[in-house]
Structure formats: structure tokens, C-alpha cells
Symmetry: C2
């Protein structure tokens, strides 16, 4: 079967059919999304090699151990815990020390005609959620993760820094929860995608000395954290979403003196994301920039890596 | 009057008597402590110049606006808010944007025969607390600040990294609240000061891959944060106490992937610290390394700046 792989370069390759282990389902790809993390992986992050991809909506074509999944349209959580350690036992399989991660760590990704995941990772997609929405479940869940970590209130002064894909999804999630937000970005076209009631848009230079109770850093760049610190109030919270390869210089004395809380934030609740799309509270489709068939995956990757490009999708 | 000043070098100087503004008290020094921050200031932190010192116990010799303080033995909070801004109005004067700070920022410090502070900053010292204990109120309060920021429980696995003055006080505070703790340090002599029931001591190399729910970073060094991150569990908390001059290189991707919370922590509750010493729950006197009269302040500073030295006091 065909799959989009990375091994020093992104390349479409003929690879063996995936072999489902016990409790695993074989999923046929319907639609996949190229994420900033995929681009980072192709720049050397984690020394990755193999089939890329972790954002998908697909159809279960085989699940011997749990046949109810057969034929279901699904999305899937990307972390595969060992299932036996203390963290997995306490429900924290996404933090299992020996976890594998779909298309990121020791488990082939979803940018192929078929791929495998444990049935326990799957979520059925409600009929009212289109493929073009469902494919955003994983990053939208990551956006909703913030609500599990920070007690956000409509009276708070909240900013999101970064008008890329994740920043825009975070703004959509905040809007769905009726939390007013200032989106700080660089691209008028992207800022316009979410402008409207409850969403103020700004460029960084216009903020002046303004400070926020909570700043979500979703720039995906090395400079984002400094900007976040410049605009968080004393005793405020910075939620860090960007996984930047390498280290970032941090003025820790300022962090101590202003008693800032810095909160690392990763994967979130798929059920919440699916429900938000099913109810119409969030519709991520305006983020779609382009769609390519899987066989044109190399071109799709080249497109996704251009500056300022939003979500590039890969069809089956 | 005599005071210990910094102006490129630490020097005992004859300076004018302090002039109390409205609502201020004149305090005669009984005993002062040299803090790591004082040493940082003499290395260029904040471009400081003037009378040093912010840890003290003294006696009020004049307080025209609030005569009840006259003759009282006191300690004092070090932040002087403007008193009129929104933060001061909401009780956050320690985070007032135009605050002055005793011996640190735009307000002469306590390493002089007399100094001034707003009466609102003063706390009377209970009779059962000796000068040699009361002089630790400010750093001990900073240690107790952690309990206001992190919900610590006796079942948690807690580590303190750094066996310097602040690290040892944090361990004493944890012991007072019956939270078992592992102190990670380098100096057998210092580790021994707090060893005993509920306190395990270790050197970093012996920790292996051990991970803690909460790690308090109190090394005062640039390397402490990396060590803290190496030993905090996923979704754990790192409390950052060290104010290191300059920036620290931070592996932010790991912070995001492991969803670590990094909590900047500064000044704390004086009343809690005084009560802990009055009740006997904490006795910081084993931390006293040496005591010099104020007139030998230059020697005292030289002593305090030697590697591995604990608290050096300056007597009146």
C-alpha cells in the first residue's frame, strides 16, 4: 500500500500492509491533516523516521477483537500506552513513559492507505460531523485541553498569541465557551477568519503595555514565549502549546518576581471536540487551505511548509 | 549614621539619617541577614546602587502617624506599593508595577543603623521568637508561599533541589506541615542540618530516574531548573524560587509534552512564618553561619559570598 514517509526526505513509498496486534483496529484513511509537529519532525525533531501523520478521520476495515467497530467512521487518540504501568493504570496512558505515538514515536502514522490503532483509542464520529471537520478533532481537542488545566472565566482578560492553525482553534474553543479573547497574530487574512463578537484581533505592536490574566502561546516559534511573558500580568498564567525543537531562552528571574505560572499543554479530550463540532459551536473548516490526494503527498507537504499556510489535508 | 552600601563595591559609609514619609516608621536595626539576592545585586542584578539589605528584625524608634508601633520589635514586608493603583487596591501591593522594594529597588535597605518602612509593612515579633529566629521571617515566609500556590498533600512525592539557605527553609516549612520531602543537595554538612523523620537527603547523582510530583527549585544557580525538569513526573509541578540574573535555556518542548507546570514563587506570608517559629514548628537558627557587627559589614559580605556558606548575620 502507499504511504507518505520521512527518512531524511518526505517521500511517497510502497510499504507493507500494517499488521494489527491484539486489540487493534485497521483503519482505512478518509482524510488526514498535516500538523506543525509533522513539519517539525521533518526538520529533525525526535529523530523521526517512518510513516508520518497523526490527524485523521478514517473507517475501520477490520477489528477482530471488537467487531462493533467494523465499518465505523472514526477519529483516534494518538498516544499508545504500554497498558501495564502505573501511569496507564491511573488513566494517564498519554504520559506512559514507554508510550508510542501515532506517526510521532515508534508507531507508523496515518498518512497511508491503511494504519492501525488500538480500538481503545478510537472515537466514533457523529453523523452530523463532516470528514472535513472530523479531521480537526485531534488539534481541536488539544485546544480544549486548556479548559482542563486553567479555570477560565468570561470576566478574565485572555490572549492567544499566534494566528496559525492551533492558535485559531484555541480561539474557536474559547468562543464556544463564551470566553472573550484577544488574538495576537501577524496575518490579516488569518485574523479575519475568527474576528467577530467576543474575538478582538491585534498585531503584537499594537498591544503596547497591555497585560492579560492568561496568555496562550501557540505561535510554534522560538520567539512566542518572550512575547507571552511580555503581556502576562503578575500572577498570571502562560499556557504553552508550541513544541519547538531545541531550547528557548527564558528570563526566569522575571518569572519568579512576577510569580507567573507556565503551563505545558498537549493532547486533549476528543469527546469534547467532537461534541463541539456536532453542536455547531465550533466549525474548523475555514482553516482548510488546500486538499491533495495521498498520492500527491509530497506536494501537499511542500505546500504545508510554506510560510503562513493553514491546514493542508490529504485525501484517501 | 553608618550603612552598608553598594556602588560597584560593598562599602560601609556614613549616610544621612533616613527621613520617614507619611505613614512610615523609623526602625533601628537589631539583626539583619545577608541573602542570595543581596549577593546577586552586587553582581549586577537590577543595576542596584545604595544601601543594601531586606532581611531584618528591628525596633521601631519613631512612627508619628501610628504611635502604637513605638518601641515594638518588628520584622517588615519588603514591597512598597504605590497604594493607589488597581493592584494595590486589590491587595497585591507586592506586585504593584511602580513598587519600591527595601534594599532592592528604589528604597534604601536595612543594612544601616536605621531605616524606614511604611507602618503597614510591619509585623510585631512574638516574645517567644528570638532575634536570631525573627531575622529569618522574610525568607521563611517565602518558603511558606509555596503552600499558597500548590496544593501539597502528605501523600505526594516532593523534592527540594538546593541545600542553600532557601532550600533548607523550604524543607523546614514542609516538615512543619508534615509533608515528607527529599532534599537534593551537594553538601553533607548542610543536608545533615535537616535530616530526620520525614526528610530524606540525597545527592542528585543518587536519584537515578526518580520522578517527583512536585519539585521546588531553590539552587540559586542556572543549572537548577534543568535538574528540576529531569526529576518531575509528567503533569507534575516545578516551583521556581531562584532569581538568577540573565536567562536560562529551557527545553520547552519537553515541558509541553510532559505538561509540566512551572510556578514562579516569591514573597510569602509573614504571619505564617512568625507563627511557625513562635509555635516551635520551625527553628531556623541552625542555618546561622556567622554573625558580624554592622561595622564589619564588608567582611560579613565577603564571608557570605564564599561557596557553601549559609546565613551570615549583621548585628546592630
Amino acid at each position: 500500500m502507499l504511504a507518505l514517509t520521512f527518512d531524511g526526505a518526505v517521500a511517497l513509498r510502497d510499504v507493507p500492509e500494517p499488521n494489527p496486534g491484539s486489540g487493534h483496529a485497521v483503519v482505512a484513511l478518509r482524510l488526514a491533516g498535516i500538523c506543525g509537529t509533522d513539519l517539525e519532525l521533518t526538520r529533525g525533531y525526535k529523530g523521526f523516521g517512518g510513516v508520518l501523520g497523526h490527524e485523521f478521520v478514517g473507517e475501520v476495515v477490520r477489528c477482530d477483537d471488537d467487531p462493533q467497530w467494523q465499518g465505523k467512521r472514526v477519529v483516534g487518540e494518538i498516544n499508545l500506552g504500554c497498558g501495564t504501568c502505573e501511569r496507564c493504570a491511573s488513566g494517564l496512558r498519554s504520559h506512559c513513559a514507554s508510550r508510542r505515538v501515532l506517526g510521532i514515536l515508534d508507531h507508523p502514522g496515518c498518512f497511508g492507505e491503511r494504519f492501525v490503532l488500538p480500538a481503545a483509542n478510537l472515537h466514533a464520529v457523529p453523523g452530523s460531523v463532516a470528514d472535513e471537520q472530523a479531521v480537526f478533532t485531534e488539534p481541536l481537542a488539544a485546544a480544549f485541553r486548556i479548559f482542563e488545566q486553567v479555570a477560565l472565566e468570561p470576566t478574565m482578560h485572555v490572549a492567544v498569541i499566534g494566528d496559525g492553525k492551533l492558535g485559531l482553534l484555541v480561539v474557536m474553543a474559547l468562543r464556544a465557551r463564551e470566553i472573550p479573547v484577544t488574538l495576537v497574530g501577524r496575518h490579516p487574512r488569518k485574523l479575519a477568519l475568527v474576528a467577530g463578537p467576543g474575538v478582538r484581533t491585534s498585531v503584537a505592536a499594537e498591544l503596547g503595555g497591555e497585560r492579560f490574566d492568561v496568555v496562550v502561546e501557540a505561535t510554534g516559534s522560538r520567539d512566542g514565549l518572550a512575547l507571552a511573558f511580555a503581556h502576562v500580568r503578575p500572577r498570571g498564567t502562560v499556557v504553552l502549546k508550541s513544541t519547538v525543537h531545541g531550547t528557548v531562552e527564558l528570563p526566569t528571574a522575571a518569572l519568579v518576581v512576577d510569580e507567573i505560572q507556565l503551563v505545558g499543554s498537549r493532547c486533549g479530550p476528543f469527546d469534547v471536540a467532537l461534541q463541539a463540532m456536532a453542536s455547531g459551536a465550533v466549525d474548523p473548516r475555514p482553516l482548510i487551505e488546500a486538499r491533495y490526494p495521498l498520492v500527491e503527498g509530497e506536494r501537499a507537504f511542500e505546500h504545508a511548509s510554506r510560510r503562513g499556510v493553514l491546514k493542508v489535508l490529504l485525501g484517501a
